[in-house]
Symmetry: C2
Subunit: 324 residues, 2 copies
């Protein structure tokens, strides 16, 4: 179980490795939202998302002998790149198991970070069997994307930074909106803020029709998404909250928000023109909620995490064309 002490230990291990990302703002966004809006720009993190923190935390938390044998992860996206870069910096083997229909750019990027990419056919192959065989054969340690205490501790370092930055900005109370897939970032941030900035309430944000976490929080027990594909916000689509993350979310989070794809694209366009940062669709759900769900927020300030910036160029262009 992830504790504040684990998050603080992860912060020490990560110091000088992860970027302390800035808290950005613009009076133009404040006006849209009707309150002060701050964006924690994790899109500027190494590999373009917060996932590097969890990857580094997990690898640096392994026993050296275990780490030396290498790591393995299942991911077609940001987790793959975060783990791959962490492994590269440690100089240990890294295998990423990806579907063969993953975008070529993501496969190339993961390889460029030094990982061995093993492709599988979604229709024919058993991903878990492939991973288990490789792990057994080579002694690789599986790095799970969110239901892993060391990963949650790494993502929680975002929360420690938010607590410090909120104090610098004079924000004593308000909501911290977090793009939520399996809940690793959301639960880590919630644990950090519980201890360091108890006036800040974490609220998870998801795309409409994929709001398993919001519905689970409302029900008080885990609910699944009806489907798992077809969202613009592919980076944060998971079947349901994690077994480890959900109890943390249930204990600490306020109600979740669900935003539309139009709102996500408009938030991406506004981040382009007002903040000068690139946010991917899944990373923009929290900013969208900050801007367009004002009636659901209280307090005079809101902090939205922009969790990633690995946006597809065509989708980004479409967002600019439609909303600017």
């Amino acid at each position: 179980m992830t504790s504040l002490a684990m998050i603080e230990a992860a912060a020490q291990r990560i110091d000088g490795r992860a970027r302390r990302t800035p808290l950005l703002s613009s009076p133009f966004l404040d006006e849209i939202a009707g309150r002060r809006v701050f964006v924690k720009a994790e899109c500027l993190q190494h590999t373009g998302s917060f996932k590097f923190r969890g990857g580094w935390s997990a690898l640096s938390g392994l026993d050296q002998a275990v780490r030396q044998r290498g790591v393995i992860a299942f991911s077609s996206g940001n987790h793959a790149q975060g783990v791959a870069l962490a492994a590269k910096l440690f100089g240990v083997p890294c295998v990423i198991v990806m579907p063969s229909d993953a975008p070529k750019l993501k496969i190339d990027n993961t390889r460029a970070y030094g990982a061995e990419v093993v492709l599988y056919d979604r229709a024919r192959d058993d991903r878990d069997a492939i991973g288990a065989a490789l792990s057994a054969e080579r002694g690789l340690t599986l790095i799970k994307p969110f239901d892993e205490p060391l990963v949650i501790a790494g993502q929680g370092t975002v929360g420690l930074e938010i607590a410090e930055q909120a104090a610098e900005e004079g924000i004593a109370s308000g909501s911290v909106l977090v793009p939520c897939g399996g809940g690793g970032l959301t639960s880590g941030v919630a644990l950090a803020l519980e201890a360091k900035a108890p006036g800040l309430v974490v609220q998870p944000c998801e795309p409409e029709e994929f709001d398993d976490t919001a519905r689970s929080l409302e029900a008080g027990e885990i609910r699944r998404n009806a489907r798992l594909s077809g969202s613009l916000c592919d980076a944060i689509i998971t079947p349901q909250p994690g077994d480890i993350t959900f109890p943390i979310l249930k204990r600490l989070c306020g109600p979740g928000f669900a935003v539309s794809e139009d709102e996500v694209m408009q938030a991406m366009a506004l981040a382009f023109t007002r903040l000068k940062v690139v946010i991917e669709p899944g990373g923009a759900v929290a900013l969208a909620a900050a801007l367009f769900r004002r009636e659901g927020l209280s307090g005079d300030a809101v902090i939205a995490i922009a969790s990633g910036g690995n946006a597809d160029s065509a989708i980004f262009r479409a967002a600019l064309e439609r909303f600017l």
Copy 2:
């Protein structure tokens, strides 16, 4: 004449007002450049460019009684917004004199920062006469865009930050590439680095056909541009280096670089995909030189300032479409 003491005094006045912008990097850019590349992301500064530093430095350096009467500036771009926001934060009147054919978005933004915008007709009106009449009538102080010691001192605070950040990254020698218009940023950064990081050499960067500073440095005396319009990099087009800035550039800078518009657009696209920041064309000339002028650079690291992010949406989309 701007001195290190003036830059350090400006840094004290600006502390907590300007953002300490991050130094970003990506292994993918290092590979293109053949050396380590760092980008000083002033596009993330308030108002989307480094100009807020000069504006704040100038206003905060005025006697209070003078400042209270208000300020005036001529600008259709980043200087206008930088001065307007500084005046708004001080709560003093601000008049920006802009051509009536300036983009509506820039006029709207300048007004949104609280400035009174006075429009003039480029063909019929005498801009300087309009400004002089307003200044005399209301007692406004003119804030020049670059040939003003307090403005140079403010821009020089970028150089102080670069010196600190370069030391953190272990960069003892190399080039600092600076997008150069009138030379306010370039001269301020060069003065700061002369004292704080003497192993770093400043080299100004400009668009091809508008490389007045590079040609002036080569000639040892001020040279003019043949024309003043028709560049994608409108934010950094000036007739010639300033009377105050040029002697500083001549004393401290290495040779200048001129880059093509294609190289600028490619640098913008690479900043989108590898750094997740938005850079406007004029702000991307230094990154373009860092990536595509490797033979003109020495040392194992280069630092490029991304001076602004107020990119036109259509131009940005075109850059992504062509180069990604």
